[in-house]
């Protein structure tokens, strides 16, 4: 799960990580009030779950309160398009207004999981403000890494090594060490999957500040963080993804026209792959899970077929726990209830497959069955093409 910059900065502040003074606004008038209170030059930043906001016109500098109001009125309501947003962009619903900082140096700091070493890693670089992937590729020596102890966490000497590596000295060094320690405390306490501060800045008056903050959280740990669940902004997610999550379905909307309904994440990905190999494009990833009920199957069907791009549906289920006769029951009920007319190809295998196939054949519905996933993919891609022309 991701959160907005203003939410991330509130968490940082709570954990004693310095951030510029500021507040969030959803109207230009409110932005003016905040700037008035700050009484300085301010930065007005679009709040969307995507990077690359500056280049897309989502971040503006304003000299005073009137300027802040003008900047906010330009940004609020705009459809921000960056390389990280969907092609149609995201509508900006709020802006963060903060005191502009006089920057002396820009640094980089992040924390995440190192899968290979099976522990958390803190990364820092004196080359801040840039894409860290580029830095890693071009000047790998500019990235300092400290792997933390799985039980003891980040040791003070590691925080000091990071701060020295960032070239901090004197008062800024002390601040930097404290900031790194506090940020790691936040990373662990909130079960973050990523904390990225880019840039971390040293101001001309010698303060170390987190100028930007990107936080994402381990979805598996949200059960113990109701305070984070409350920060979820469904406006930032695809409406069909949100709808699917209500029914415990794992759905991700994609750009193609072949709807997929599969049990299990690996088989669901493999099904998308085989549709592509057959010359088609999958419209979604959908894992109905191991023990899907007929109701879940019906909801899954409703959600994937409500995507207007979907021209045909491919059901690929390997029934282990999920019995094929129950799947057939769910599919037949869903197609009848929703009055679906688009072509549906069903490939099922496993427990009670004969009974399931018989039920589909006797249902009188226009369901095409396929004996294996290769044949099924070829059939559904052809049907989707036919439907597109017709």
């Amino acid at each position: 799960m991701k959160v907005h910059e203003y939410q991330a900065k509130a968490l940082l502040r709570e954990f004693g990580v310095p951030v510029p003074d500021g507040d969030v606004a959803d109207t230009p008038a409110r932005a003016r009030e905040i700037a008035q209170r700050l009484g300085s030059r301010v930065v007005v930043k679009a709040q969307v779950h995507a990077g690359g906001r500056g280049k897309a016109g989502g971040i503006k500098l304003a000299a005073d309160a009137a300027g802040a109001e003008a900047a906010a009125s330009q940004i609020l309501g705009m459809r921000l398009k960056t390389p990280q947003t969907p092609p149609e962009g995201i509508v900006v619903r709020s802006v963060w207004v903060e005191r502009a900082s006089a920057i002396e140096r820009e640094l980089y700091l992040s924390m995440t999981l190192d899968r290979t070493r099976a522990t958390h890693v803190v990364m820092a670089s004196p080359a801040g403000g840039m894409d860290i992937e580029d830095v890693a590729a071009r000047t790998p020596e500019k990235i300092i890494r400290e792997w933390t102890h799985p039980a003891l966490g980040l040791a003070d000497y590691q925080a000091r090594r990071l701060a020295f590596g960032l070239g901090l000295a004197g008062e800024a060094f002390k601040q930097g060490v404290g900031l790194i320690r506090n940020l790691f405390r936040l990373y662990l306490a909130k079960d973050c999957s990523l904390v990225e501060i880019n840039p971390l800045v040293v101001t001309t008056d010698g303060r170390v500040l987190a100028l930007d903050a990107k936080l994402s959280f381990d979805d598996n740990a949200l059960y113990r963080h109701q305070e984070l669940v409350a920060l979820r902004d469904v406006n930032e997610e695809d409406p069909l993804d949100v709808e699917a999550s209500k029914y415990g379905l794992n759905y991700i909307k994609l750009d193609g026209n072949v709807g997929c309904m599969v049990n299990g994440a690996g088989l669901a990905m493999a099904t998308m792959d085989i549709i592509k190999l057959a010359g088609g494009e999958p419209a979604n990833f959908l894992d109905v899970g191991g023990g899907a009920s007929p109701e879940q199957i019906e909801n899954a069907f409703r959600i994937l077929s409500s995507d207007p791009a979907v021209k045909a549906v491919f059901i690929n289920v390997f029934g282990g726990i999920l019995r094929c006769d129950r799947l057939a029951e769910g599919v037949i009920a869903a197609v009848r209830k929703l009055g679906l007319t688009m072509p549906v190809v069903v490939r099922m295998e496993g427990t009670n497959v004969e009974l399931g196939r018989q039920m589909l054949a006797e249902s009188g519905l226009a369901l095409t069955s396929a004996e294996d996933m290769g044949v099924g993919a070829t059939k559904v891609v052809a049907l989707a093409r036919g439907a597109t022309r017709g």
């Binding site: 990280q84 999981l113 899968r115 290979t116 099976a118 522990t119 958390h120 992937e133 102890h149 799985p150 039980a151 662990l188 079960d191 999957s193 381990d218 979805d219 598996n220 740990a221 059960y223 113990r224 794992n250 991700i252 994609l254 599969v262 049990n263 299990g264 994440a265 690996g266 088989l267 669901a268 990905m269 493999a270 099904t271 998308m272 792959d273 085989i274 549709i275 592509k276 190999l277 999958p282 990833f285 894992d287 191991g290 390997f318 029934g319 282990g320 726990i321 295998e349 496993g350 427990t351 294996d372 996933m373 290769g374 044949v375 993919a377």
Partner: protein, 296 residues
């Protein structure tokens, strides 16, 4: 004759009185697995569906001689259940639970390091030695006794390949689901090593996913240590970057962990890769049929 589990394995089910635990304990027993009982704290001394129940793993091990823990405890208690099994000296711990927080697994992995317990999972279907023992949630009837070792990060995709193999009369020595989480107990490498050393495994089918570098590391191991033929498939060739594809570990992050990269790494060491998931069984048949040697 297989790896890790066999007809002598004595299985203790942690979380046996829950819905999943009950269902699968019975299915495993039906298959012929020696399920000696289960653990549910607070229900010790009772009997559940004919299985004796203990309060702690320690008591259960003493009373039953169990040497394998099968865990169905919900995510909030799963890490603790693994630690309890390890504390009781359980040589093999299989954690089926999906949704264990990553930070919990970082601690568990460190706690188990250097100790005698091997962990499979979490977020996995378990493992099966056909004809001997099924320790997990896979449908037993699709398997067949034979010589193909299967190792996979995925559940239903593993059933798919097993089905394709069995249909071609290619049985399996052991099938191991190592799980779809970013931090898990046993890696591809450890299972590959076991298959390489198992005289009854004649070929290895390896199924990977997008995300992380476990497949690349496995490929390097194959180059150095595996002489048996290996067939590989990576799912998620069409997955968009930055999105978690169901499994917590299946995510292309920072441009790394793509299927194409992994397939290239496998091909570079002589692993026969399969483009289409419909061709996994046929490819193993072809590799075994032509010769028993690793293909270049």
């Amino acid at each position: 004759m297989s790896i890790l589990v066999g007809r002598d394995t004595r299985v203790l089910v942690q979380g046996i009185t829950g819905k999943e635990g009950t269902f699968h304990a019975l299915r495993c027993k039906e298959y012929g697995t020696q399920v000696v009982g289960g653990v549910t704290p607070g229900k010790g001394g009772t009997t559940h569906e004919g299985f004796p129940v203990w309060n702690t793993v320690e008591e259960a091990v003493k009373a039953s001689g169990a040497d394998c823990a099968l865990i169905f405890v919900p995510p909030a208690g799963a890490a603790d259940a693994i630690l309890e099994a390890a504390d009781a000296g359980m040589p093999l711990i299989v954690c089926i639970t999906e949704g264990v927080p990553v930070a919990d697994m970082v601690k568990v992995k460190a706690a188990l390091a250097g100790g005698p317990s091997r962990l499979i999972g979490p977020n996995c279907p378990g493992l099966i030695t056909p004809g001997q023992a099924k320790i997990g949630i896979m449908p037993g009837h699709i398997h067949k006794v034979g010589g193909v070792g299967v190792v996979s990060r995925s559940g239903t995709l593993t059933y798919e390949v097993v089905h394709q193999l069995t249909r071609r009369d290619l049985g399996q020595s052991t099938c191991v689901g190592i799980g779809g989480d970013p931090v898990n107990g046993t890696s591809f490498i450890e299972v590959l090593r076991l298959f390489q050393d198992d005289p009854d495994t004649t070929a290895i089918m390896m199924i990977g996913e997008i995300g992380g570098t476990a497949e690349e590391e496995a490929a390097a191991f194959v180059r150095a240590h595996v002489t048996k033929p290996v067939v590989g498939f990576i799912c998620g060739q069409t997955a968009p970057p930055g999105r978690r594809m169901g499994h917590a570990g299946a995510i292309i992050a920072g441009g790394k962990g793509t299927a194409a990269e992994k397939m290239r790494a496998m091909e570079a060491v002589g692993i026969t890769t399969v483009k289409s998931p419909a061709d996994m069984g046929a490819t193993v048949a072809r590799v075994l049929g032509k010769n028993g040697q690793k293909k270049g």
